[in-house]
């Protein structure tokens, strides 16, 4: 991309997100700081908050997450954030990105140490990864993906590269650190990860996205994912406002 175009785009991002910042929901679970650092590195103005009025003003939401399912849900409920998040995401159509346990709580039910209700934003359940010979649980480390649809999360990710003896090699690694996985219908799945069985590691339902891996800890691939997601938020926000251009696909899915 030409130097001039890059500077113009960076300026556009700066101006857009100063007015409508991204909100990283602080519900006392997960490394908020790393997500925040990634966003500043990429030039996206954002605020870390758990106040409903900030979430209402946001252009996009991020639900970071480390730790257990029920504790995440308990903290969200205790801060009365569930309703305001659902309001913004379902009615106001604001894009949301759930990371790791932030993705898992989008489900209907989570079966980690018991059975707990999720936000029910994406139909599906969260179950423990079945033990299998040679596939240790928890699933920790860098693993490659089988990407079903590149756009919008994986549009900048190179799937293949040539290795030393010029053979095609899968290089779309991301960092995983989980013992439970998101079990849902194939139509919501953006990408799988083969770990003894196919685990859904990236899901989407309209403007709600979830990724099982940690983009804020996946170095360049992670930064590229954030780059394409937040540019999507910027462009998506634009299409929301000028009412005449309704996203046809959006309407059909909703009803």
């Amino acid at each position: 991309m030409e130097e001039k175009q890059r500077i113009a785009l960076a300026l556009k991002r700066k101006r857009f997100f100063l007015e409508n910042p991204i909100v990283i929901v602080d519900y006392d679970v997960g490394n908020i700081l790393s997500v925040s650092k990634a966003l500043s590195y990429l030039g996206y103005h954002h605020i870390v908050s758990s106040k409903p009025e900030d979430i209402q003003r946001a252009s996009g939401l991020v639900l970071p997450g480390i730790g257990a399912f029920y504790e995440a849900m308990r903290n969200l409920k205790s801060r009365e954030l569930c309703s305001v998040i659902k309001e913004e995401v379902l009615n106001k159509n604001k894009p949301l990105l759930g990371i790791c346990v932030g993705m898992q709580i989008l489900s209907d039910k989570g079966f980690e140490n018991g059975e707990y209700d999720g936000l029910a934003l994406i139909p599906g359940n969260v179950r423990r990864i079945p033990e299998q010979e040679g596939f240790r649980v928890p699933h920790v480390g860098w693993n490659t993906l089988e990407i079903i649809s590149k756009d919008p999360l994986f549009s900048l990710i190179d799937d293949y590269a040539l290795d030393d003896d010029k053979k095609e090699e899968l290089v779309n690694h991301f960092y995983f650190d989980h013992s439970y996985y998101f079990e849902c219908d194939d139509k919501y799945v953006l990408a799988y990860c083969n770990y003894g069985q196919k685990l859904a590691v990236a899901v989407r339902f309209d403007n709600i996205f979830g990724v099982q891996f940690h983009p804020e800890k996946s170095q360049k691939n992670g930064l590229k994912l954030f780059r394409s997601f937040f540019d999507f938020v910027m462009n998506h926000f634009g299409s929301l406002n000028n009412s005449d251009v309704t996203d046809g696909l959006q309407e059909a899915k909703r009803c």
Partner: protein
């Protein structure tokens, strides 16, 4: 496919990252956040930071240092040293740690392992075991006492797994800092004893030492403390050494099919196709290649 992780361990003393030799001699190297920044830039898979002063000084991991480290790079962080309670763990995870590592407190208060695993999920809980070979068996070494204790390493590792530890961080006191290679017997024993991932460290001085571990054991992560400080882009070059010298048939783990699944390559700055000198560092490129580079222009990668 889940590859093996190349991990850097930063031993912290007096607030700075040091080289550790035989758990007794320490050499000052650099500030923690500078090390994290460059290791992340070089594509390290994970970083473990252990503050060896903390438990002796009776304090937990320094939050300010945790924040500085988490902010310096986009790489998975495991923080350890002096952690004694769930509250401390929650604070560290909030600061940017992905996992926390228990050493002394795992031995003195095993209940903490299961309690923490319950609250945060076992994937965030790593137990660090320092092993030393004494009269015929591997015993657990207590670094605050400076000697081994009467606990067998394999039993203790199994015990930790039962208690809900997510990973084992296995160090060899004897090999520490000698640059003579890893203690492969110890590694094989522990990897067979538990089913949770095992990260091994202690004695890396040449890329071939990492190669030996990958060829003869089922470790999920191979780590080095001093080694990665020695030369520019050490992580990328070491990864390429491993990718170049690992033939599929060598591998013990049947599930690892293609070569690509073993070591994650760095993108854009990848040191592909290089040869190595006897120290295992990038050797000089051939003359015609250097000559052809005179008219090449390589832009910086900007995401």
């Amino acid at each position: 496919m889940l590859g093996t992780r190349l991990i850097a361990c930063l031993v912290v003393k007096n607030g700075i990252a040091v080289q550790s030799i035989g758990f007794s001699k320490y050499l000052p190297v650099c500030r923690v956040e500078i090390a994290v920044e460059y290791l992340s830039r070089w594509g390290i898979d994970e970083i473990v930071i252990v503050d060896i002063d903390a438990s002796r000084a009776g304090r937990s991991f320094d939050l300010e240092m945790a924040q500085a480290a988490a902010g310096a790079g986009f790489v998975p962080l495991t923080l350890g040293g002096g952690i004694k309670s769930v509250a401390e763990i929650r604070m560290l995870l909030k600061q940017g740690a992905d996992k926390i590592c228990l050493n002394n407190s795992a031995r003195l208060n095993p209940g903490l392992i299961s309690e923490a695993a319950k609250v945060f999920g076992s994937q965030c809980i790593v137990v660090s075991i320092d092993a030393t070979f004494v009269d015929g068996e591997y015993k657990v070494y207590d670094y605050s006492l400076g000697r081994e204790i009467e606990t067998n390493v394999l039993d203790f590792a199994k015990e930790c797994e039962k208690l809900g530890a997510g990973e084992i961080f296995l160090n060899s006191v004897a090999n520490d800092g000698l640059k003579q290679g890893f203690d492969l017997d110890l590694i094989n024993l522990v990897c067979k004893a538990v089913s949770i991932p095992v990260i091994v460290i202690g004695g890396a001085g040449h890329p071939s030492h990492f190669l030996d571990v990958l060829k003869q054991a089922k470790a999920s992560g191979v780590a080095a403390g001093n080694y990665f400080h020695f030369f520019e882009h050490s992580v990328i070059a070491t990864k390429n050494y491993l990718r170049k010298n690992l033939a599929v048939k060598d591998l013990v783990d049947p599930n690892i099919k293609g070569k690509e699944s073993i070591i994650r390559p760095n993108s854009y700055v990848d040191y592909k196709g290089i040869s190595f000198d006897e120290m295992g560092r990038p050797a000089k490129k051939d003359e015609d290649f250097l000559e052809s580079q005179r008219f090449e222009f390589h832009p910086e990668e900007i995401i």
